[in-house]
């Protein structure tokens, strides 16, 4: 063994000993006192509590390196100390003069893996969320762990503040403002009560939010069945806010649905087809008409061979803001005529959608007349609202049948009356 090798091994051994010492000291300290900081933490904070401490990033931005020691001492992470999350850091390589961080975003995303070391179940749920999906698609705004959980000041049970909407309102401010005035907002329910904290799904796809409603309002179906005909069907085809957010503008979303697989059709990742096909079917660019919708559906059925792709309609509110303006149940819409008559507001705005790769619906506009066209008997076989989406051709047929039913007897009667003398004469001749 040469002197150089010996020297190198000695350094490695010293580093291992330091790491073990750090871990041991941290653990002991954590056991000794929850909020007590270790000597090592104090050493870190000696520099990192300096106001304005920051480093330049590759994208020209700056990464704040200052840690509020007092807040950290109170945080749940003070128990584990600095070294558990920042395990790559040691006194020998710190500050990392040569280390370049491209951007704050890159740094945050990298730290997600560190979170998973202790919070694996939560991170796993998060990985299936719309937020993680957006990040994978390159969205630069979707939140990573540290966007919601300030790592140096995280408090047990205080991540969400229902009164202030944090951390969701940081991005969803307009929605939170609307929500604050709603019946749920006034009751200070947290966003996560409905949307979950980590496995946040797309609210307009799937049943996650509806199930959240029914999770608390367990007797909702029973209560509705007492007065609402076909209540279960309404639960399937009408979103809760469509009635319980009475001031909202409503619309119809026609979702591509695979009848064989019994699930919504999903856009294939990497090869988006829906929008291009819809555009190509919509030759006038005025939104899909009945024929265009029919040919779009045929295109999708061509792909899937035997399986039958259909459209399932769902009545929903026009925006996320309106979805959060839920009123007390006494103000909910109970007048059936709001939807079940021709020209009703919800049927004036129609979209066709597919579930995008990130779980959110990808929509394309359609003309309202698709709901009333005879062609829709085939293409829109799974959606029908009595009165509101009635087929116009059948209205004409009914008018014709009633006019015929009244007109033919009246005409017959009139001819009989006109020929009465002639008929009597012949009858008289026959009798005689």
């Amino acid at each position: 063994m040469t002197g150089t090798k010996f020297h190198t091994n000695l350094i490695i051994a010293a580093r291992i000993a330091l790491a073990v010492a750090v871990f041991t000291v941290t653990s002991l300290a954590a056991r000794a006192a929850d909020s007590a900081r270790t000597q090592l933490d104090e050493q870190c904070l000696a520099c990192h509590s300096a106001e304005g401490l920051e480093m330049k990033l590759g994208d020209g931005g700056k990464l704040a390196l200052q840690v509020d020691g007092a807040a950290f001492a109170k945080s749940v992470h003070s128990k584990i100390g600095c070294a558990v999350c920042h395990a790559n850091t040691s006194f020998e390589n710190h500050p990392p003069v040569k280390k370049k961080i491209a951007s704050g975003r890159e740094y945050s995303l990298g730290m997600n893996k560190v979170c998973a070391n202790c919070h694996a179940p939560a991170v796993k749920l998060y990985e299936g969320s719309i937020h993680a999906s957006l990040i994978r698609d390159g969205n630069s705004w979707a939140p990573s762990c540290t966007d919601c959980h300030s790592p140096h000041a995280v408090m047990a049970g205080a991540t969400y503040n229902p009164a202030k909407g944090t951390p969701c309102s940081k991005c969803h401010d307009a929605v939170f403002t609307a929500y604050s005035g709603s019946v749920h907002g006034k009751a200070t329910l947290a966003c996560s009560n409905c949307h979950r904290a980590h496995d946040v799904g797309s609210p307009t796809a799937g049943d996650q939010v509806k199930n959240a409603c029914l999770g608390c309002h367990e007797d909702a179906q029973d209560k509705h069945q007492k007065w609402l005909p076909n209540a279960k069907r309404h639960f399937d085809a009408v979103s809760c806010p469509a009635c319980h957010s009475p001031q909202a503008k409503r619309k119809v979303d026609l979702r591509l649905y695979d009848n064989l697989a019994q699930q919504s059709v999903m856009e294939k990742a990497g090869v988006p087809q829906f929008e291009s096909r819809a555009r190509s079917a919509d030759k006038k660019g005025a939104g899909l008409d009945a024929m265009a919708l029919h040919s779009l559906l045929r295109e999708f059925n061509r792909d899937v061979g035997d399986s039958k792709t259909t459209l399932r309609g769902r009545l929903e509110v026009s925006s996320g803001v309106e979805a959060h303006q839920l009123a007390p149940s006494t103000l909910a819409i109970r007048d059936c005529a709001k939807c079940h008559q021709q020209g009703a507001d919800p049927f004036q705005s129609v979209t066709v959608s597919i579930v995008g790769p990130d779980g959110r619906p990808v929509r394309y506009g359609a003309q309202p007349e698709v709901l009333n066209s005879i062609i829709s008997v085939d293409s829109l076989s799974g959606f029908y609202a009595i009165g509101g989406t009635r087929i116009k051709l059948l209205d004409w047929l009914l008018a014709l049948a009633v006019m015929g039913g009244i007109g033919v007897p009246m005409g017959h009667m009139t001819i009989r009356w006109l020929f009465r003398k002639y008929a009597k004469k012949i009858t008289g001749q026959a009798d005689s």
């Binding site: 007065w227 005909p229 076909n230 279960k232 069907r233 639960f235 399937d236 009848n259 259909t310 059936c336 005529a337 079940h340 008559q341 021709q342 020209g343 829709s376 008997v377 829109l380 076989s381 799974g382 959606f383 029908y384 009595i386 009165g387 009635r390 087929i391 059948l394 047929l397 009914l398 014709l400 049948a401 009633v402 015929g404 039913g405 009244i406 033919v408 007897p409 017959h412 009667m413 001819i415 009989r416 020929f419 002639y422 008929a423 009597k424 004469k425 012949i426 009858t427 026959a430």
Partner: protein, 212 residues
């Protein structure tokens, strides 16, 4: 004047319940479909009435079905199996309504206990009672609880397909009911056939007149 007992009591009971029921179903059906255009009752009330009356009519249908299945009166519906004979008789009847009646010609059909229907009636009533009415009841029940019967509805092509079939038959009956009432007035007097549906006895007096 000869009186023939052609409408046994169960048939008369069935007929008048059916008549009132169909008028109510057409009225409530019209209200359900055209709320906003006509508003003689609320949507919900018309739906609830439509459902209840519908179930009464389904029960009532079995009075008709069981009576004819278990009595020899079923002969009134026996189809004419010879297409030529049926066509000729139907043609004669159509010629009477479309031409002969204006000249005061006698009705070519002569009512008897087992031949109370003319050939046009027997065929059209069989289509109505064995095809259209059961389809209307069936689609009505499916639409009564779309969720419960979603499997069958999907099998038939979807809720819009089922509803369209229901509405098409509704349209047929909306026109038919006027024709039916009018044809019922073409007896030897205007009220003769209608009266017989109350008493059970058809009066055979004049050689001319119509069916219903």
């Amino acid at each position: 004047m000869e009186r023939i007992y052609v409408h046994p009591l169960p048939v008369r009971i069935w007929h008048w319940i059916n008549a009132l029921g169909f008028v109510a179903m057409i009225a409530t059906g019209f209200q359900i479909r055209y709320i906003g255009l006509v508003d003689f009752m609320s949507f919900r009330t018309s739906v609830v009435l439509h459902e209840w009356i519908g179930f009464v009519l389904i029960g009532n249908f079995f009075i008709w079905l069981l009576f004819y299945l278990f009595s020899d009166k079923i002969r009134v519906y026996h189809p004419e199996l010879s297409p030529m004979k049926h066509f000729q008789a139907s043609f004669r009847q159509a010629m009477f309504y479309g031409y002969g009646i204006f000249k005061g010609e006698p009705n070519p059909h002569h009512v008897s206990v087992y031949e109370k229907f003319n050939s046009m009636q027997s065929m059209s009533y069989q289509v109505i009672m064995l095809l259209l009415v059961p389809i209307q009841f069936y689609t009505g029940v499916l639409l009564w609880d779309v969720k419960r019967f979603s499997g069958m509805i999907d099998l038939l092509g979807g809720v819009r397909v089922v509803d369209t079939a229901h509405v098409l038959i509704f349209i047929f009956f909306s026109g038919f009911i006027f024709m039916h009432i009018y044809l019922a007035t073409l007896g030897h007097t205007r009220m003769a056939h209608i009266k017989s549906m109350f008493t059970g006895y058809e009066e055979i007096e004049e050689p001319h007149g119509g069916g219903k």
